[in-house]
C-alpha cells in the first residue's frame, strides 16, 4: 500500500496530538459510562484516525473541521432540541437537517461546476468544483455527527449512530463516494472525472430531497430491537464503502465508453487512466464489501439464529460479490481491458443498486427495515 508523502509533517504531528487529546478528554469524561470493550474501541478509533490522517493528509484538516462544526452545533443546542428551531445559527446552518440541505445544494453546484470545467476546459472551474465537493463532504459528515447527537436529545434511549435507515445511509453514501472520489482525483490529478462521479452523487441527493420532503424520512426513529447490535455500526459503513466504490467505477466506466467513441476524449483523462481508477475503486470496494458481508453474517447469526438464511438481501449481496469477483478475475487473471469491463462495471452498478434498493422495494424478507 503506497501512502502519499505527508507534505506537512507539522500538520501530521498536530493532527496526531489533536486526536490523542480528544481521545483522552473523552476517556476521562465518559470513562464511567463505558465498559472495557467501549474503552478499547475508543482508543482503537483514535489509532485508526491517526493512521487515516497519515494515509491521506487532507483528512488532517477535514476531520477536525467536521468535528469543530459538530461541537459548535452541540454547544448551541445547549441540551435543548427546541433551540434547533429558534437559534438563528442552528436553524439555518447547523442542525443536521440544515447541514444536509447545504450538502445537497453544494453537491448540485459542484456537479454543475465540474461540467462547466469539463466542457470549457477550465482548470479554475474544476478547482472550484473540487472545493465545492470538499465543502459538501464537510457538510455531510458534520450533519451525520450532529444528527447522532440530536437523537440523544430526543431521548437517551432513542439516540444511535445515524446509519439505521435509508435516509441516513444515503447521506453516508454521498459522503463516502465523495471522499473516495476526492482521493482518486488528487492521486491521479484528474479532476475532470468529477463530472461523471458527481452525477451519481447528485442522483442520490435528489433521492434524499424527495425522501425527506415527500416521506418525512428524515425524522429520527428509535432502533427496533433487531437493529440494536454492535455489528450494525460497522456493517453498514463497510457496505457503503463498497457501494460508493462500485458507483465510482461504474461512472468512470461510462466515461471510458464515451472516450472510446471519441466523445469528450480530449477533455477527459486518458482511457487507461479511467480504467485504472475504475479497477482501483472496484478492488477497494470488493475488499470492503467482503468485510461487510461477513459482518452481516455475524450479525445475522446473533439476531436471527443463522449466519446465512438465503434471505433476499443476503442472496443479492452474494450476487453482487460474485459479479465483482468475476470482474476482477477477468481483469487480473485474463488480463482483459477495455470496453467489455467498462460495460460490465456499469451493469455491476445496476445489480448493486438492485441489491441496495430494489430488494427492499420489491422483495420481502428479514431485512425489511429500510422499506420505502
Amino acid at each position: 500500500m503506497t501512502t502519499l508523502p505527508a507534505k506537512r509533517p507539522v500538520g501530521a504531528i498536530a493532527f496526531t496530538a489533536l486526536v490523542l487529546v480528544a481521545a483522552m478528554i473523552s476517556f476521562s469524561r465518559y470513562r464511567g459510562a463505558m465498559d472495557y470493550y467501549e474503552q478499547g474501541i475508543l482508543f482503537a478509533c483514535a489509532a485508526g484516525l491517526i493512521w487515516f490522517g497519515r494515509f491521506w493528509p487532507a483528512m488532517q484538516r477535514f476531520l477536525p473541521l467536521c468535528g469543530a462544526i459538530a461541537l459548535a452545533a452541540i454547544e448551541l443546542y445547549d441540551r435543548n432540541l427546541a433551540r434547533g428551531g429558534s437559534n438563528f445559527f442552528l436553524k439555518y446552518l447547523l442542525t443536521s437537517q440544515s447541514l444536509v440541505m447545504w450538502m445537497c445544494v453544494l453537491f448540485f453546484l459542484a456537479t454543475l461546476m465540474y461540467w462547466i470545467g469539463l466542457l470549457r476546459r477550465s482548470a479554475s472551474s474544476l478547482s472550484i468544483a473540487s472545493g465545492l465537493t470538499w465543502a459538501a463532504a464537510t457538510a455531510s459528515l458534520s450533519s451525520s455527527l450532529v444528527r447522532w447527537y440530536e437523537g440523544y436529545l430526543i431521548g437517551p434511549d432513542v439516540g444511535h449512530i445515524p446509519v439505521s435507515n435509508l435516509y441516513e445511509v444515503f447521506v453516508l453514501f454521498c459522503l463516502i463516494t465523495a471522499l473516495m472520489y476526492l482521493y482518486y482525483e488528487a492521486r491521479f490529478a484528474a479532476r475532470s472525472m468529477g463530472a461523471f462521479v458527481l452525477l451519481v452523487i447528485s442522483a442520490a441527493v435528489g433521492f434524499i430531497l424527495w425522501y425527506s420532503f415527500d416521506r418525512g424520512a428524515h425524522e429520527i426513529q428509535p432502533l427496533i430491537p433487531a437493529l440494536q447490535s454492535w455489528w450494525m455500526k460497522i456493517h453498514v459503513p463497510a457496505n457503503f464503502v463498497g457501494y460508493g466504490a462500485f458507483a465510482i467505477a461504474a461512472m468512470l466506466g461510462l466515461a471510458q465508453l464515451l472516450v472510446s467513441r471519441g466523445i469528450l476524449a480530449s477533455r477527459l483523462p486518458s482511457y487507461d487512466t479511467l480504467g485504472e481508477v475504475s479497477y482501483k475503486a472496484i478492488a477497494i470496494g470488493f475488499l470492503f464489501f467482503t468485510i461487510a458481508t461477513i459482518l452481516g453474517a455475524m450479525w445475522a447469526a446473533d439476531a436471527w439464529g443463522g449466519y446465512w438464511s438465503w434471505d433476499p438481501k443476503e442472496t443479492w449481496a452474494l450476487i453482487v460479490w460474485l459479479n465483482y469477483a468475476a470482474w476482477l478475475h477477468v481483469r487480473l487473471v485474463k488480463g482483459w481491458r477495455g470496453n467489455v469491463l467498462a460495460w460490465w462495471s456499469v451493469i455491476g452498478l445496476l445489480v448493486t443498486t438492485f441489491a441496495f434498493l430494489g430488494v427492499n422495494m420489491f422483495l420481502s424478507g428479514l431485512h425489511s427495515y429500510g422499506g420505502l
Partner: protein
C-alpha cells in the same frame, strides 16, 4: 477423474482434460454466473411458503413443473448443492494447480538473470558509473527487500524481492472459499437430505400434536446440526423444535427442555417496540429439574449444550378472555368465557356457530393522524409546510394507545365467517365515549368500525335498550302515538291529522327497523317521486328523530328508570345510537361480544440452532479477508542491480504492471542509478497495453 491404472501424476488424457476444465478460469466464471442466476430465482420466488399458496398462485400446470425442480426451496435442492460442490471442486483444483508453481516462485530468487534478459524487462535503466555497493544494499534493506548477491567474472549483481504475501494471498482467498463451503455444508441439511433419499426419514405433512408424530419424522437430539422453531406459551415448556422441510416438517428433539417464565416487550415513548425478551428456564429432560435460567433477547442469544436459543417471534399464547355476550335480537346480555387462539361452539338465534378467537393484543398504539400544529393555518402552502417539517428531526405524532383488543371470527355451519376486532376500553371522541367494534367479511378488506355510544356510567346498556326499542315492532304503536302526541303538543304539525301522523311514524319506524337508514332510503326511492324526495327525506328524518326520543323514554321506563331530559348530551347520545343501530344491521350474526376482561398469557417464538460449521465459516471468512487484502494491496516486486564494467543496470518487475509500478521504479532509479548520467535511459513507458499476467 483418473482411471485406476494411470498413476495420479500422469492422468489419462480424459482425466487431464477434465482437470484442465474444472480448474480453469473459464469454468470458474461460468460457475459463478450460474450460481448467481440460480440465487436470483430464490429471491424472486418467495421460498418455503405453504405449498397450497404456490398452487393457488401459479396454477396447477406451472406448479407441477416448478415443484419437482425444487424452485420453492432452491437453496436446499440437490442441484443447488451440486453447484456449490462444483465450486468447491473447481476452487480446490485451481489451488492444486497453481500453488506448487507459486511456492517455487516465492522461494526462487532468479539471481541468474543475465544482462540481456534484464534489458528485456519493461522497467529497466542503465547509467555510466558503478553505484556504491554499500549504498545499494542499504537502500534495498531500507525498502524492505530481501536479496542475494552474485559475483562472478567481475560482475556484481544483486537480486532482490519483496511482497511474497501477495502470492500467499491467492492461496488464502481461494482456500477460504473451500473452507467456507465446507462449513456451510456441515450446517446445511446434507446428512438429513441423504437420509431422506435413502428413505430413513420423511417429513410429516399432517397437522397433529407433536407427540403423535411418527419416528420416521423425528430426529434425535444427537443430530449434528439443525435449525428449527418452536412457540412456547408462558408457563409451558417445549423439548422439541420443528424443522421446515418443503411440504412438511420434522420434529427435532432437544437435549433439554425450555420453559418460558415470562415474555416482556418494552416500548419507546413513541410506541415502537424497544426490547423483546424472554425469561426462560432450561430444564433437564429426564428429571425436569432446572439446569440454568436466563433471558434471551433479540441479538442476545443464549447457548446451552452447543444449541443456541434465539428470540425469534412472539404472540399471544392462549389468554383466558371474558366477554359480555349481547344478543342484538332481544337486547339481553350474558357472560361468555373463552380463550384466545382457540375455537369453541356457540349457538346464536338457534343456529350453530364456531367462535374462532385469534390474537389478544394488549397494546394498540395508533397514529391518529395530524396534530393540531401540523394542521395549523400558519403554514400557508404545501411546500412551506414540507420545508418546516423537513427542518426538524423530530416529528410530531398524534399517538394514542387504544388499549386491548381481541380479534375473532364467527363461522356458521356452511363455513362462512365474519371477522371482528373489538376493543375493550371505551374510546373517547369529542369528549364522548364509545365502544368500538370492527367487522369485515374478507380478510383482505379493512375493518369497518361501528361506534356504540356509552351512557353516563360508561356502560353500553343504555344504548342496547334504545337499540332494542327501535327494533321491536311490538313497541312501535306506543312509540308512534307518543311521537304524534309530542309533535302536536309542540304545534309543529298542526295541519296534519294526528292518526295519520302516527301511521307515518310507524311506517318510518318499520322501515328503519328492517334495515336502518339504507332501508329507509330504498323505501323513499321506491315510493316518492324524485323531485319531492329531498323534502320528504327531511321530514322522515325529523319524524325518526322524534320517534327515537320517545323510544328512548319508553326503553328507560321499561327498565324502571326515569326518562332522561333531551339536553345536548343526551340528544347526541340518541343520534349516535341511531347511527350505530343502523350500522349494526350489516353486522353478521346478531350478537355483539363485548370484551370485558382477560388474563394475558403470552407466547414466545424461539429459534434453536446447532451449527458446528459456524466456526469453520468464520475461520474461512478471516482467511478470505486476509487473502483479498494481500492480493490487492501487497505488490510483489523484484529488483535487480547489476554493476558491470563501469556501468550500472537496474531492472524491476512486479506481478502487476501499472502506474504504481512506474512510480516505484522511478523512485528506485533515482536512489540507485549514479547521478553522473541523468536521463541516460528513456523513462519507462507507462504500462498501458493489456498486461497483468502473473509472474
Amino acid at each position: 477423474m483418473t482411471t485406476k491404472k494411470s498413476p495420479r501424476h500422469h492422468p489419462a488424457p480424459f482425466g487431464r482434460a477434465l482437470f484442465e476444465l474444472f480448474s480453469s478460469m473459464r469454468f470458474a466464471i461460468s460457475l459463478l454466473t450460474v450460481l448467481s442466476i440460480a440465487s436470483v430465482i430464490g429471491t424472486v420466488l418467495k421460498q418455503n411458503e405453504p405449498y397450497v399458496n404456490y398452487r393457488f398462485e401459479f396454477g396447477d400446470f406451472w406448479f407441477r413443473i416448478f415443484e419437482p425442480l425444487g424452485l420453492f426451496d432452491v437453496y436446499h435442492t440437490s442441484w443447488f448443492l451440486l453447484l456449490l460442490a462444483f465450486l468447491m471442486l473447481s476452487t480446490s483444483l485451481c489451488i492444486w494447480r497453481h500453488v506448487p508453481g507459486m511456492l517455487r516462485d516465492i522461494r526462487g530468487w532468479r539471481e541468474k538473470a543475465g544482462r540481456s534478459s534484464l534489458r528485456l524487462m519493461a522497467h529497466h535503466a542503465e547509467a555510466d558509473g558503478e553505484a556504491n555497493r554499500e549504498h545499494v544494499l542499504a537502500h534495498l534493506t531500507q525498502s524492505g527487500f530481501r536479496f542475494r548477491i552474485r559475483e562472478h567474472d567481475r560482475v556484481w549483481q544483486v537480486a532482490a524481492k519483496r511482497g511474497a504475501w501477495q502470492k500467499l494471498g491467492y492461496l488464502f482467498a481461494h482456500a477460504a472459499i473451500v473452507v467456507i463451503c465446507i462449513g456451510g455444508l456441515l450446517d446445511g441439511n446434507l446428512p438429513l437430505k441423504l437420509m431422506e433419499l435413502a428413505g430413513y426419514k420423511a417429513p410429516e405433512t399432517r397437522d397433529m400434536p407433536q407427540g403423535q408424530v411418527p419416528e420416521i419424522s423425528r430426529l434425535s437430539a444427537s443430530n449434528l446440526s439443525f435449525r428449527g422453531n418452536v412457540t412456547v406459551p408462558e408457563g409451558a415448556a417445549a423439548d422439541v423444535v420443528f424443522l421446515n422441510a418443503g411440504k412438511g416438517y420434522f420434529v427435532q428433539e432437544l437435549p433439554f427442555a425450555i420453559r418460558l417464565k415470562a415474555f416482556h416487550v418494552d416500548y419507546y415513548t413513541t410506541g415502537q417496540p424497544k426490547r423483546f425478551a424472554s425469561d426462560i428456564d432450561i430444564l433437564d429432560r429426564q428429571s425436569g429439574k432446572i439446569r440454568q435460567s436466563g433471558t434471551v433477547e433479540v441479538n442476545k442469544p443464549m447457548v446451552v449444550d452447543g444449541v443456541a436459543i434465539y428470540q425469534a417471534s412472539f404472540g399471544d399464547g392462549g389468554s383466558p378472555l371474558s366477554f359480555a355476550r349481547w344478543d342484538l335480537g332481544n337486547g339481553s346480555a350474558a357472560p361468555l368465557d373463552a380463550r384466545s387462539q382457540a375455537s369453541s361452539a356457540l349457538t346464536i338465534a338457534g343456529q350453530p356457530y364456531t367462535l374462532e378467537t385469534g390474537d389478544l393484543r394488549v397494546f394498540n398504539i395508533e397514529n391518529l393522524g395530524k396534530t393540531e400544529s401540523q394542521q395549523s393555518a400558519v403554514t400557508v402552502n404545501k411546500f412551506e409546510q414540507a420545508l418546516s417539517q423537513a427542518a426538524s428531526v423530530k416529528g410530531e405524532h398524534n399517538l394514542r394507545n387504544l388499549g386491548p383488543s381481541v380479534q375473532f371470527k364467527l363461522r356458521d355451519a356452511t363455513g362462512q365467517a365474519v371477522e371482528y376486532l373489538n376493543y375493550l376500553a371505551p374510546q373517547p371522541l369529542d369528549d364522548h365515549l364509545y365502544l368500538v367494534t370492527g367487522m369485515r367479511r374478507e380478510v383482505a378488506q379493512p375493518f369497518t368500525f361501528i361506534r356504540m355510544p356509552l351512557d353516563t356510567e360508561g356502560k353500553v346498556d343504555t344504548f342496547m335498550r334504545v337499540h332494542h326499542a327501535l327494533l321491536d315492532p311490538q313497541q312501535y304503536p306506543a312509540i308512534a302515538k307518543a311521537t304524534a302526541d309530542a309533535a302536536f303538543r309542540d304545534g309543529a304539525f298542526s295541519a296534519t291529522n294526528r292518526a295519520q301522523f302516527a301511521e307515518v311514524t310507524r311506517s318510518v319506524l318499520t322501515q328503519f327497523g328492517s334495515g336502518g337508514f339504507p332501508a329507509l332510503e330504498r323505501f323513499l326511492d321506491g315510493k316518492v317521486p324524485a323531485e319531492q324526495r329531498q323534502t320528504v327525506a327531511q321530514t322522515y328524518l325529523k319524524i325518526l328523530q322524534g320517534a327515537a326520543v320517545e323510544a328512548f323514554a319508553q326503553a328507560q321506563r321499561q327498565a324502571g328508570l326515569a326518562p332522561l331530559p333531551m339536553d345536548e348530551t343526551n340528544y347526541r347520545f340518541l343520534m349516535d345510537s341511531l347511527v350505530a343501530t343502523s350500522n349494526l344491521f350489516d353486522y353478521g350474526p346478531a350478537v355483539y361480544l363485548q370484551p370485558t376482561g382477560f388474563t394475558q398469557v403470552q407466547a414466545s417464538g424461539f429459534q434453536l440452532t446447532r451449527s458446528p460449521g459456524k466456526t469453520v465459516v468464520y475461520l474461512g471468512s478471516v482467511l478470505l479477508v486476509m487473502g483479498i487484502f494481500c492480493m490487492f494491496y501487497i505488490r510483489e516486486e523484484r529488483l535487480w542491480v547489476r554493476l558491470e564494467a563501469g556501468r550500472t543496470l537496474i531492472a524491476m518487475t512486479s506481478n502487476r504492471r501499472n502506474a504504481d509500478l512506474d512510480h516505484a521504479f522511478a523512485a528506485h532509479r533515482a536512489a540507485l542509478l549514479p547521478e553522473s548520467a541523468p536521463g541516460a535511459m528513456p523513462k519507462p513507458k507507462p504500462a498501458a497495453t493489456p498486461d497483468g499476467e502473473p509472474t
